[in-house]
Symmetry: C2
Subunit: 198 residues, 2 copies
């Protein structure tokens, strides 16, 4: 416990680097996040496993955090406009409840050492990603999650309810998304300046 | 780095135990959580620093996660009734926006060893507290946060908007609170059974 297998870890880093380049080729990578992933790869003792730059979704679920019996019926990594949400509301009568959800950026990062995990956590906190922590430690690496508290969930519609002021709901949701993106930009700046001083 | 000062840690555990007993005397402790705190104190290498059993608040803030320029104008650790929320809506015209927020249980725990931190994380995940992790490591201890993804934030009111179906909003909020409490109950059961097998 607590000891990472270095050769296994290096192999995984190499594998993930190749996969990222493939994803980039296919156009599968979210352009808002590519430079941040590179800045993490550049660190000697870290690599990103998965990430999201922040997004707005519409979810059909009893409660917005449910995974079972839930469906994401709309997803976008940039601000939404009223007509987009209206068209979802018109075309998708909910099975459960429709929630408009904005979430901030999130990263899962593998580090080789505990020291590197703690360095990244300090940087993330300074960037406003205050809900970050070490999730697990195993032979394969130290798993770090970077996350903000940025989250809006607005009930749009249920069987006998439709939101009255959609504009205000969308305004709050877009504000949340943009606040997340600005923390992502700060994370990038801090990663770069910490690499320079390494 | 990475090494906890055992005598300092034991002193802090002792101090926190006394403080908890005082809080209990004053009636300051949330009754939904006392037994869980005891179960954590009973573990040789852990003690709780702060906790919340889950709660419903009404917050006046531009966005629900803002701390600056925000005010908690209502707080309760049990389900809310419509008349309670109505009376807040009547008596508190919002400076920014009024958000009805339900959050699941949360714990901050100090452990003496990394092994104990990882054991507690495993238990927490099994109890459905999937957003848990190690926040920091220092001479004073390893800081572990246990948290669920249970969270509802509903926009109740802004300058020119009042929610139309308050009943549905309250129903969803109470459901969220109760789901949090049931994960807390599961955490307690798992802590007890893991102590017995230690």
């Amino acid at each position: 416990m607590g000891v990472v297998d270095k050769s296994l870890w290096l192999k995984e880093k190499d594998y993930m680097r190749k996969r990222m380049l493939e994803d980039l080729d296919i156009g599968y990578l979210d352009p808002d996040i590519y430079h941040v992933l590179l800045a993490i790869f550049m660190r000697e003792e870290a690599f990103p496993i998965s990430s999201c730059s922040g997004r707005i979704t519409i979810v059909d679920a009893p409660m917005p955090w449910h995974r079972k019996s839930s469906a994401v019926i709309f997803k976008k990594h940039t601000v939404v406009e009223e007509h987009e949400v209206l068209s979802v509301l018109r075309n998708s009568p909910p099975i459960n409840r429709l929630w408009l959800v904005a979430t901030g950026p999130i990263f899962h990062i593998s580090t080789l050492t505990l020291r590197e995990a703690l360095s990244i956590l300090r940087i993330a906190r300074e960037a406003g990603m205050k809900h970050s922590g070490i999730l697990s430690i195993s032979r394969r690496g130290i798993l770090v999650e970077l996350k903000t508290g940025v989250r809006v969930t607005i009930l749009l519609r249920s069987r006998d309810f439709v939101i009255s002021d959609l504009q205000e709901a969308i305004r709050a949701t877009n504000e949340a998304l943009l606040e997340g993106k600005s923390r992502l930009a700060k994370l990038y700046d801090l990663l770069l300046s910490s690499s320079r001083s390494q």
